[in-house]
């Protein structure tokens, strides 16, 4: 290989590497919202077990001088905390101003993803406004089909069928989760039924017993006082 060819190859690979990194992290065209300095924003994801979730965020700081949001600010961090349905923390990490976090659920249920800014520099520079671009993908949306096609060398038809298989798998998982939730609902209803039954009986018994006790006690009290 001639040196110029090698140079070209190196350049294109490094450019490719940069594009790869950018594409991997940046949710450049996605939804955004504003967050205050110490404000914590939480999002809930109700997912079946063994489901992968990928979240990407990008933060922009308000620049008072230019009156617009800066494209990217180094030194600004976001703290990401993810709790599972049993409120146990499964991820609690500090990321930079742009970050990507991923987790796989091991129990079905409501997972809570919380973001808050850890920076105190904002009060000095910004006036407290931070713009956060967020993109959360769940389940089969996390699959990157062109990458799978290249890795497993699939034809177009095979890739389409693979996508359909992934979708059907997600539907099956959700149905399974639905069965688990319905079981919980049924248990809750039966527990309510039991409680209503037993506590009504108990209250009636307490009423009768205290009534009898009252009468007996007062009778013996009056007899002792020689009023009866």
């Amino acid at each position: 290989m001639r040196p110029s060819e090698r140079g070209h190859k190196m350049l294109s690979f490094s450019a490719a590497g940069v594009i790869l990194l950018l594409a991997w992290i940046y949710p450049s065209d996605s939804l955004y919202f504003h967050i205050g300095e110490t404000e914590k924003k939480c999002f809930i994801e109700e997912i079946p077990d063994e489901t992968m979730v990928i979240g990407k965020y990008r933060t922009q700081l308000w620049d008072k001088q230019t009156g617009s949001f800066l494209p990217s600010t180094p030194g600004l961090g976001m703290h990401v905390e993810i709790k599972d349905p049993d409120t146990k923390i499964i991820l609690s990490r500090q990321y930079g101003s742009d970050g990507r976090f991923t987790f796989t659920s091991h129990t079905p249920g409501e997972h809570q993803i919380c973001l808050h800014s850890n920076s105190t520099k904002m009060a000095l520079f910004a006036g407290g406004k931070l713009r956060v671009h967020l993109d959360i993908q769940v389940g089969e949306h996390t699959n990157n089909y062109p990458e799978i096609a290249a890795k497993d060398k699939l034809t177009e038809l095979q890739l389409r069928v693979r996508q359909l298989l992934d979708q059907v798998e997600q539907i099956q998982k959700e149905q399974n989760y639905q069965r688990y939730r319905e079981e919980r609902f049924r248990m809750t209803s039966e527990s309510t039924n039991q409680r209503v039954l037993w506590w009504s009986i108990a209250q009636t018994v307490i009423l009768i017993v205290t009534g009898i006790w009252q009468m007996k006690h007062l009778k013996s009290f009056f007899e002792a006082k020689k009023l009866v």
Partner: protein, 213 residues
């Protein structure tokens, strides 16, 4: 060498496209007297759909408002439980949609929304094909669309079931709490009745003896 490099570049280009998935589905908590706004930059001519549903809280209703870059209100509904709104972006710019719980004094609401912008990105980076789709491929495409709507229905079903389940769990705890409370009140009231009655007669006896002597 060139072939593998070309494949690598295609994969990376596809990665870049896939990084820009245009569709957001989020569930968040809206505290009482709060308003939460989301923004998205949309290109003119894109067909967009906003769907929202209130999952838990109060009477399960929320105010929703969608504005275009000039501030014109495209959609405004008060105290709605569930709705779906489709529009085509008439201008380039930042579209804003807000959910408001300002009418509620003490109930937190959990709101789910799904904002789809445009179509899904194509499965392949070089979708400008020379030939039309074969029968197999168009069958795959229609199955894919049908499965997408199945997943969408499943999501809405799950949210409604979550509503029912949270009410049932509230009922369960309330029944337990109030049953125990009532039993305690019953005991306390009956014992204090007897004690009070005894105290009436005790005082009367001392006064009668004093008068007698």
């Amino acid at each position: 060498m060139h072939g593998s490099l070309w494949v690598l570049l295609q994969v990376l280009w596809a990665q870049l496209l896939c990084g820009w998935v245009l569709g957001s589905e989020l569930t968040f908590e809206l505290p009482d007297n709060a308003k939460q706004c989301f923004y998205e930059d949309i290109i003119m001519g894109t067909k967009c759909t906003l769907e929202f549903q209130v999952v838990t809280g109060g009477h399960y209703d929320v105010d929703c408002r969608l504005e275009d870059p000039d501030g014109t209100t495209l959609y405004k509904e008060m105290k709605k439980q569930y709705d779906s709104f489709t529009f085509t972006a008439a201008k380039n710019g930042t579209y804003k949609f807000c959910f408001s719980n300002e009418f509620s004094t003490f109930t937190h609401k959990t709101v789910y929304f799904d904002f789809q912008v445009g179509d899904d990105p194509p499965l392949f980076p070089n979708e400008n094909r020379v030939t039309a789709l074969t029968q197999m491929e168009s069958a795959c495409v229609s199955i894919h669309e049908a499965l997408k709507s199945v997943i969408d229905y499943q999501t809405h079903f799950r949210l409604r079931e979550a509503q029912g389940r949270s009410r049932a769990e509230d009922l369960n705890t309330r029944v337990a709490f109030w049953s125990i409370g009532e039993a305690i009140i019953l005991l306390v009231v009956s014992i204090s009745q007897v004690v009070l009655l005894r105290s009436f007669f005790s005082d009367k006896k001392t006064t009668t003896t004093r008068v007698g002597s």
